[in-house]
Amino acid sequence: MSGKRKKIVAFLCNWCTYTAADLAGTSRLKYEPDIRILRVMCSSRVDPVFILKALMDGADGVLVGGCELGDCHYQRGNYYARRKVAVAKKIAADMGLDPERIRLSWISASDGPRFAEVVNEFTREIEEKGDTPVKHEAYV
């Protein structure tokens, strides 16, 4: 990896993706450090506002991680999360922000390696896109 590090905000669900991140750590897997993790109890806790706030404030990317469909700790949370991400992407696009800076991935608790791969892959994508244009701009 070259150049300046990006800022990627990651909302990870407590039961799966966050646990996978934990596993990646305890397994000593290496992944790109551009990511800033926030633990939420369920991916459906991620209000589209959180995603938009991160992007408006200059995050280069936002990752939402949840359990595999059908495996949600709360039965249905990730189905709702998917709808919320759809809305966030739509509003972002309407506002002229790149919706591809928002990523939704399902990573189960036992899949530490996959967590590392997703982070690396997303970081690579964001690096290709470069800095978000709103990073240094003052918006109301």
Binding site: D47, L52, K53, Y79, K89, I91, R103, A138
Partner: protein, 376 residues
């Protein structure tokens, strides 16, 4: 079940007469409709009981001071109204009531809704600045021909301006001069309307044609206006330009019938932070406009309520800074509702997108990670 009656009188006079006689004949215990305030040139919704109806009843005011849907939330918060109540609603208010019923914010038991062909209303500020008598007369004329010059932004491009979802629908368009047609769309409506004397309308086709033509015209205007607005506000800089006059007063949220939360997230402590946090943002962003997060407030409302936005325009009437909030929400609403093929207020049995999901949908939202790995 569908009955239609001729009601004599010019538009607002006809509706007033119909309501009064329905209440008098015992169709309902109470009435929730607009009436003139004491000063005579402004209007509010009033809750009225049989036997004590005021003589200032004005069910078709040329302004919408507050959305009736929001007031019905307030009124039925602790339970339904005890007796049958006739509620006069503009088509947009009716759609908002439908949305709020889905969200369990209105107890609709005992409500009998009455709606009508709405030509739109004047912006509050224009009405209060202008000559009331002149504007009321203009509005009366517009009821018959369907177009109101000087109407609010969203009214001018409203394509859902009839009361077809109501229990009783009043038609002014395409009906002979000096009368209006009352159509009962439901059993509850038919029970009320059945008590009123009036000649049956045999053939409704002249109204249907007039409504259809007006709808098509408005739909084209809506599309064009929203497209023009979209070009005006495309891109973050342009959005900021449109919204930077915003005072962050939250009036739009307070008058919005769909914004029913008891405590708004944007008024919660989530946005309180230490001064050095604000300073850090200011340093990063070439200055931080205060109060901070004004644009985010609008983005937040877009994501929270735009799927249910009925384009009633209450937000813009309440805006002290002339921000075109209602067009903004019509535009964003159209696109967020489009994701789910959802039309707010269409059908009370159609669930609100946030409270519903399908197992197989939006697969394109999930990053295509699995496939990529499969190829390796």
């Amino acid at each position: 079940m569908k009955i239609a009656k001729k009601i004599p009188g010019r538009n607002r006079e006809a509706l007033r007469g119909l309501l009064e006689s329905m209440v008098e004949k015992g169709a309902a215990e109470s009435l929730f409709a607009a009436a003139a305030n004491k000063r005579g040139d402004s209007f509010s919704y009033f809750l009225m009981k049989r036997g004590s109806l005021p003589d200032t009843l004005e069910p078709l005011p040329p302004i919408m001071s507050r959305s009736a849907a929001g007031m019905l939330t307030y009124l039925t918060r602790k339970g339904p109204l005890p007796g049958k109540t006739l509620v006069v609603l503009r088509p947009c208010e009716l759609r908002a009531v439908t949305e709020l019923r889905k969200l369990n914010q209105i107890h609709a038991d005992n409500l009998v809704t009455v709606s009508f062909d709405c030509p739109g209303v004047f912006p509050l500020k224009d009405f209060f600045k202008g000559k009331a008598a002149v504007l009321i007369e203009q509005h009366e004329k517009a009821l018959s021909d369907g177009t109101l010059a000087g109407a609010r932004n969203v009214c001018a491009i409203c394509a859902e301006f009839t009361g077809e979802g109501a229990d009783i629908e009043l038609g002014f368009l395409g009906v002979p001069e000096g009368e209006c047609w009352a159509v009962a769309n439901t059993e509850a409506g038919a029970q009320c309307l059945g008590l009123v004397e009036g000649e049956d309308v045999g053939d409704l086709s002249s109204r249907d044609e007039a409504v259809q033509a007006a709808k098509e015209r408005r739909a084209v205007e809506r599309k064009q206006r929203l497209l023009a607005f979209q070009q005006e506000v495309g891109g973050p800089e342009n959005i900021a330009k449109v919204l930077e006059n915003c005072l962050n007063c939250h009036n739009c949220m307070r008058v919005c019938p769909i914004c029913f939360c008891q405590e708004c997230y944007f008024e919660s402590s989530a946005f309180r932070a230490e001064a050095d946090r604000f300073l850090a943002r200011a340093g990063r962003k070439k200055g931080l406009s205060m109060p901070a997060d004004t644009l985010l407030f609008h983005l937040g409302r877009m994501s929270h309520m735009s799927v249910s936005c009925v384009s009633c325009g209450a937000c813009e009437d309440a805006c002290p800074a002339d921000v075109p909030v209602s067009l903004f929400f019509s535009l964003v609403g159209r696109s967020t509702q489009g994701i789910f093929d959802y039309v707010p207020g269409r059908d009370v049995s159609e669930p609100v997108p946030y409270l519903h999901y399908e197992r197989e949908e939006f697969q394109e939202m999930e990053a295509p990670y699995l496939e990529k790995r499969g190829q390796d």
